[in-house]
Symmetry: C2
Subunit: 257 residues, 2 copies
Amino acid sequence: MKKPLILVTNDDGITAPGIRELIDIMNGIGEVYVVAPDKPQSGMGHAVTIHSTLRVEKIIIDKGPQKEWACSGTPVDCVKLAMDQLLPRKPDLCVSGINHGSNSSINVIYSGTMSAAIEGGIEGIPSVGFSLCDFSYSADFKSSRKYIELIVKNVLDNPMPEGVVLNVNIPKAEEKELKGIKICRQANALWEEEFDKRIDPKGKTYYWMTGKWVNHDKGDDTDEWALDNNYISIVPVRFDLTAYHALEKIKQWNFII
Amino acid sequence: MKKPLILVTNDDGITAPGIRELIDIMNGIGEVYVVAPDKPQSGMGHAVTIHSTLRVEKIIIDKGPQKEWACSGTPVDCVKLAMDQLLPRKPDLCVSGINHGSNSSINVIYSGTMSAAIEGGIEGIPSVGFSLCDFSYSADFKSSRKYIELIVKNVLDNPMPEGVVLNVNIPKAEEKELKGIKICRQANALWEEEFDKRIDPKGKTYYWMTGKWVNHDKGDDTDEWALDNNYISIVPVRFDLTAYHALEKIKQWNFII
């Protein structure tokens, strides 16, 4: 059987331990092409580079056999450039991550890792974003290895529902503590910002964004619940943002001029 | 009656004609606070500034009476900073735009203008993004003025469905050509990228992102259809990205380890 062609990207940058682990796992499954940012691009959401130029550099980081390019752009730029310029054909799979830190709940919207996967989905590639709920550079990315293999096997063996990509989050836990996989909805949680206001050496004000994570959702069918209970969460994510349930309500408003 | 408190932002930057028109319209409706990027931030999606600092500068651009701050960050940063640091209380309305160029269909995901409105929605503020389908700096933002007033009046008079923000697009047309308002779903359309590959003066390769807009959707209930037929489109947009229709299908995959 022909090996699947796999595009790997992330938002922490091409040298981050999370993507190196994901590349290693994918090398056991298919023919791997890596197009990833040349520097950290966390929190870039679905940003694209439209007013400036992009660079890509073919590089060698380890013994392979994957092919790799470092790109000056955002995670979404990486997917677009890979598709149009760097891959020999449309890939069979796009995987993004493993992100250093959670992309559960509303974080899916801020995450460059998930936006890259969503861009893959928009372009018709079965796509998955993987994130580990541990921000540390030296996080243990090995504990979930067999789960990542199982999820990717499923994505390759089953048709992905149209307009859907998968958001996979992995709890910070040892392998033996992991209880399995839960298919979930996105929890209703958010960041409540508290900006840290400081004065620079010239006496001018500047701010650091900080905040606390607040989960308003008590459901046991959410990604937050699954992660809190040591399950790996999979949320099927869509990029048709239409709030279909609200169409009829808005139509009843008075729009006669 | 107490005037509503209105937060105005955009992604084209605080001096763009589109936001100046929107500020002028909002001054007739409420007490206006502007927190907008100090430079163009188109295509920034839902990016946030987490690894560097933010600045805000109180400025005066015209005779007011709005209060204005230029912010060094992304459109989403502007909303977050406004909420935590600059506004006297939670606003009654957040409006973003008027964007120079369409944010119909999948553009909602790439758009800084819409991401700012979505951030307002996440933070529980009734929020609307406005875009005019004309990229020109000197576009005619006046033709749709009474429609924008009517939409904002509706948003202030009716409860916004939970977890919903409005994506309003205005066709490029003279006032007398505008046929009214349509409530729509997001069309299934996308950008097909074609990168323009060039050689710099030092002999190294670089790329410009270009592409063509492809609409695969023949429905007459979409934003693309409405705009093509000189209607103003309103798509209710949600930020719970869960693909609920796909949950049961994915649960049937084999996740037993």
